[in-house]
Amino acid sequence: MFPAPPTFEDLNVWAALPVIILSLWASVLLVADRFINNKFYVAAYSLLGVGISLVIALFQAGDLFDIGESGTAFEGMFMADQFTYVVNIVALISAAIGILISYEYLERTKLDRGEYYILLMFSAAGAMLMGSSNNLSMIFISLELLSIPLYILSGIRRPQEESEESAMKYFLLGAFSSSFLVYGIALVFGAAGSLDLGEIVVVAQTISEQEATQRYLLLIGAGLITVGLGFKVAAVPFHMWTPDVYQGAPTPVTAYMSSVAKVGGFAAFLRVLVTGLPIIAEGGDAAVWVDTLQILAALTLLLGNLVAIMQYDLKRLLAYSSIAHAGYILIALAAGGVPGVGDSAAQAALVYLAAYAFTNIGAFAVVAAIEKDDSTGTTMDDIKGLAVKRPWLAGAMSVFMFSLTGIPLTAGFIGKFWVFRAAMDAGLEPLAVLGVLTSAISAFYYVRVVWNMYFETGDAVVPERQQYLTSGLVITAAGTLILGLLPFILENLVRDASLAILR
């Protein structure tokens, strides 16, 4: 009557061990938190859970101790390969740094609720699952697991109006964009008859031979999925929520959100488009969405970088800068649709995401460090003369700004190098040129931040030095420099990441 139930070996459960541990840990901590009065311990235990999960993820990535086999798990729902492992590592490191930079900020703004750390862990689990989904329904569920905690986190500073507004906007627009994604998934399912990426790709490859109904269903479905995920990664023209949400949310939340949501969103984007839907149109050999994504990337690069020039508030500036950086990753994504470049484009995107995660969390952490208790003090004027008052903080901020610009010897340069190389390999020279030009534009506003810190004098009061936040800053700054000076670390990590299965 029923098929034989699977065993643990069939399911390959251990392959998903990092995400299982993380979500289990968060679940237990959620109840335990009600019995722990000192929230320092909740933060410490969360960090411990993330750490254990990270160690296992590193073992998996380094192929030590045979924790789970590579390949599919959970009857094809879950994919454990190098791509998964790298996404896991990036998401977990972001979560760990996110916890480190949050503790003192939450304490001094009277926000020390234990749920904060638990929600943060759940959303990290969502991002990890997005990187390992091999099935469209999994992608949707893990997207919600990533997003819903972030909606709550951005509104966690509750009586404050900006935070509430930010949560409301993020929630409404996020739910709206999810509906696009679901409709897209439904149409793809209608055309391909399966939600499994490995089966969809067979239909997608032979699309020009399909009947017209099926062909249009698949194309419209792919388009709607692009819109839905485009919202999540803040690609122009779906970026409208980003500045307001990033500005209104508490700064450590913004730091964490801006990197982890991008990691998860782009991981799912790559999985869906490169693995599942490389739709080959009649008479061409590149995927049909390459042109669409090129346009999105060009718009995102131009708008993000140009509008960022006019920003006075640092959080808003970094919000537009994060839109701009989505543009660079979109270049890699567009390159992923060209035959033969799929894998190297996915690797470039991973390298960029890893470099960006470190740098961007660090940049926002500096903003969190100079922000006052009433969430003012984040403007361009407030960092004037920072180099005199807090030389190390200013030094760290300079590292992050140079890395975001893409100056050599920083992680940002390595990321941009990989992305532009993938674009050249794919024959998308105009886009690569645009990327270089907009990087040059971006230098204007990033360097202005550095200029204000070192060559202007100001009398803004900066909060006391914060121990844990500083340790987070040390890790991010060191990470930014190490990844920039020793590029082979990332190269070895992503070398085996492979997404394009049929070509």
């Binding site: 029923f2 139930p5 679940s27 959620l30 109840v31 009600r34 019995f35 009947e211 109904t213 099926q214």
Partner: protein, 119 residues
């Protein structure tokens, strides 16, 4: 898919309008109409609303509704699980157990958080 297969969906769409509309219209046409004040009340049983409905509700209502959802969703999935229990084996037992534990956790959290107290 042939195009005339879509015609079935069109037919269903039209029928879905006709079926509910027809009884209402027929009723209107042939039923005797003798209204009295009692018959014209909004609810057949129940009290008429007093005052404006746009008043503030206690937020506890929403919390209770959310906790209720825990049990409601549980029922939908656990009923078939329990009915087919003998044929499912160890794996499905564990899967169901994990599911119940997760829901239990939600309840314990809401309880400890004070969502069940009416004050």
């Amino acid at each position: 898919m042939e195009l005339n297969e879509w015609a079935f969906i069109g037919a269903f769409f039209m029928l879905s309008w006709i079926f509910p509309a027809a009884p209402v219209i027929i009723n209107k046409l042939i039923a005797p109409n003798r209204p009295t004040p009692i018959k014209r009340e909004t609810y057949e049983c129940g009290v008429e609303t007093v005052g404006d409905t746009w008043v503030q509700f206690k937020v506890q209502y929403y919390l209770l509704a959310l906790v209720f959802l825990v049990f409601d969703v549980e029922m939908v999935l656990l009923f078939p699980w329990a009915v087919a229990y003998n044929e499912l084996g160890m794996f499905a037992f564990l899967a169901g157990g994990v599911f119940i534990l997760l829901l239990l956790e939600g309840l314990v959290y809401a309880w400890r958080k004070g969502a069940l107290e009416w004050t």
